[in-house]
């Protein structure tokens, strides 16, 4: 066995000389770079397509570049409404998700009961196994006109209420979808807070709510920032929830991209919307990052002591 390993080692030394070793680290980056490269190529292709106008006679894109698609988009009121709805929706979803995820993560980390911790962890991961689309359809069954909730309310003599195909149902579905991501990003930040620091705050005269505001929350900030970034960008660019729970009445930007590509077959316009979405999301993420720091997504987590 040792001899085989020695042989392999010497083989390696001839095939991969010492001088090449300093490129080893870089070599590990190659697969990732390839993936990102493909993404960049796709973006470049879309940027190119977005500058070409659809000829409605031949259904082909124009040969020359033009800003017509972007101009149309800027003048299109519906586009602005959809963008506003997406940004507002993402903001609301982020706020609600963080408000729900923080206590969840806190209890999961701090509970003395191993049983409760496991239960919370399993409940967190269970939805991951189901997938977004199936879950969305599940909510249709639960919240639909003839759904479980309305049946229960009906038995009590109330309703039926219209709960699906509304903005609220889309946001509800998104919050439910985002919760595990947020909890998993916040939990490490809560773990990093030394419980003694909270006890110290108490002995120094702070009631629990001031300890929470002045100590726990600021120390958990890296986790909250990371969760906010991830939830906001995922919600802003989501496709399935608006389609299934919004039923076409509450489209987000991604649905507009889909419609342009596959309903009107206008890949020029579709690309323009997609590029606009990428630009908006990048801009907002950039603003958040500069303003709040990278949180636990960065290498210098502030929770470190």
């Amino acid at each position: 066995m040792i001899r085989v390993l020695d042989f392999l080692e010497s083989l390696r030394a001839t095939l991969w000389p010492r001088a090449a070793r300093r490129f080893e680290a870089a070599a590990f980056l190659l697969p990732a770079l390839l993936l990102v490269g493909v993404l960049v190529l796709g973006l470049a292709w879309m940027a190119d397509a977005s500058l070409r106008l659809l000829d409605t006679e031949t259904f082909e894109l124009s040969e020359h570049w033009t800003l017509a698609n972007y101009r149309d988009l800027l003048e299109n009121d519906t586009a602005w409404i959809v963008l506003g709805r997406s940004v507002l929706g993402a903001a609301v979803v982020t706020a609600v998700t963080l408000a729900l995820a923080f206590p969840y993560a806190w209890v999961m980390v701090r509970t003395g009961s191993a049983w409760l911790r496991k239960l919370l962890l399993v409940s967190l991961f269970l939805p991951f196994f189901i997938g977004q689309v199936v879950r969305a359809y599940g909510w249709l069954i639960v919240l639909g006109k003839e759904g479980l909730v309305n049946q229960l309310l009906g038995a009590l003599g109330m309703g039926p209420f219209k709960m699906i195909y509304t903005y609220g149902s889309v946001l509800f579905g998104l919050v439910q979808y985002m919760l595990p991501f947020a909890v998993l990003l916040i939990a490490p930040a809560v773990t990093a807070i030394d419980e003694e620091v909270e006890l110290a705050s108490e002995t120094l005269g702070a009631p629990w709510w001031r300890t929470f505001l002045e100590v726990t929350l600021p120390l958990a900030r890296p986790g909250l920032v990371a969760a906010a970034m991830v939830v906001f960008t995922l919600a802003l660019t989501d496709y399935a929830m608006p389609v299934i729970l919004g039923g076409g009445t509450n489209d987000f930007v991604a649905n507009m991209v889909y419609d342009a590509f596959f309903r009107t077959s206008d890949s020029g316009m579709g690309s323009a919307v997609a590029i606009a979405l990428v630009a908006a999301a990048t801009l907002l993420a950039g603003v958040l990052l500069t303003w709040l720091g990278a949180g636990t997504l960065g290498f210098r987590g502030e929770a470190k002591r």
Binding site: D194, E196, V197, L199, A200, S201, E202, T203, L204, G205, A206, P207, R210, E214, V215, P218, L219, R221, E302, R305
Partner: protein, 374 residues
């Protein structure tokens, strides 16, 4: 919120802290059992004990993190069992310091003042003055991670003292420091404590720290108080075998009580010192404590020690541990049934030639043999 700052019904004669019959069990096992003691204003008490002795549980009950299962605690004459930690007038320095990493040193020290409703205008002045007391003047703007370990200790001490609490609790805050810095901080804290006259309860397993820092030492074992005495008395007149063994390096020898305040030790009759109780009836078995530094050692055949020794025996060196300012010997003594005695020699240069196997004379004065009835 302001309850802690409100003037309290002060009974001038009352102790600053009174612990009355306090006990606490975890899962049916008593961690603290019927503990009572008082601490007078301005005094420094150290609770000394091995891990698992219940000292930390006791401190946490005084702080208010744990509710006593039985008994009552009084701070400044007021029963506090039902008072949450943030309304007790205490300052605590934690084992891991528990400084706020997101705040500067000055903000850390200002925190309790803000929480306790001090006027915003007087906070910076108080913080600056306190930082001066702990010799951190000018470093207030530093973040916690920009300070050295010793400086962080000082910030933690300043934070616990700045609002002039009735009582300061130390939860082994010095344990993590290296020895030199720890000994420096022990003296430093003692200086600050005396300067401000603040009543202090310290918890430690380090007997040296307890002896150096305290006015009084409360020795605990298995949840019970073993002795409450001045450091001097705890060392010189231990109340029982546990205290005798826990403080200092101590040998225990089995003996039998005789008439006239004498004992029989391994077949020979000898005198003994005063124990915590009068010697029991002749024939009773005793444990006799003999501190390692009270045993003299000299190479066999040399002139007698300058001090008159009441008991002298021959022995063979088994182990030698040179510690710089002292040497610790383990000596096998045939006359004591081959018992191994630990001997501390304070003048190492005198007997540098002693190696394992060397034949030596050992001896002690009768009064240093302290008898404890079983």
């Amino acid at each position: 919120m302001k309850a802690a700052d409100a003037p309290l019904p002060v009974d001038a004669a009352a102790a600053m802290v009174e612990v009355r019959g306090v006990g606490k069990s975890f899962g049916g096992v008593p961690a603290v059992d019927q503990v009572s003691f008082t601490v007078a204003k301005g005094r420094f008490l150290t609770i000394l004990g091995p891990s698992g002795s219940g000292k930390t549980t006791l401190l946490r009950m005084i702080a208010g993190f744990i509710e006593p299962g039985e008994g009552e605690l009084f701070i400044h004459g007021r029963p506090v069992s039902a008072v949450p930690p943030h309304r007790r007038s205490i300052g605590m320095v934690f084992q891991r310091l528990a400084l706020f990493p997101h705040l500067t040193a000055a903000q850390n020290v200002a925190y309790p003042l803000r929480m306790r409703g001090f006027a915003a205008g007087e906070i910076p002045g108080r913080v600056e003055a306190m930082l001066k007391v702990v010799q951190l003047g000018g470093l207030g703007a530093r973040r916690i991670h920009e300070l050295s370990g010793g400086q962080q200790q000082r910030v933690a001490i300043a934070r616990a003292l700045v609002y002039q609490p009735d009582l300061v609790l130390l939860d082994e805050p010095l344990a993590a420091l290296d020895r030199k810095l720890r000994e420096e901080m022990q003296l430093e804290f003692r200086r600050i404590q005396q300067e401000l006259g603040v009543t202090t309860i310290n918890v430690t397993h380090d007997q040296r720290e307890a002896l150096v820092m305290s006015d009084e030492v409360l020795v605990m074992d298995r949840g019970r108080v073993q002795q409450l005495a001045s450091p001097d008395a705890a060392y010189r007149a231990p109340a029982n075998v546990f205290v005798a063994g826990f403080i200092g390096v101590t040998n225990f020898l089995e003996a039998v009580a005789l008439e006239g305040g004498r004992v029989r030790l391994a077949g020979r009759e000898c005198g003994c010192g005063a124990g915590p109780a009068p010697l029991p009836a002749a024939g009773t078995v005793l444990d006799c404590a003999l501190r390692a530094e009270h045993v003299r050692i000299a190479p066999a055949g040399t002139a007698a020690d300058e001090a008159p020794l009441d008991v002298q025996l021959a022995g063979v060196v088994r182990q030698v541990a040179f510690e710089g300012d002292r040497t610790l010997y383990e000596v096998g003594v045939a006359d004591l049934g081959n018992a191994v005695l630990r001997v501390i020699d304070r003048s190492p240069e005198a007997h540098l030639g002693l190696r394992p196997g060397a034949v030596v004379r050992i001896g002690w004065r009768a009064r240093d043999l302290i008898p404890f009835p079983r």
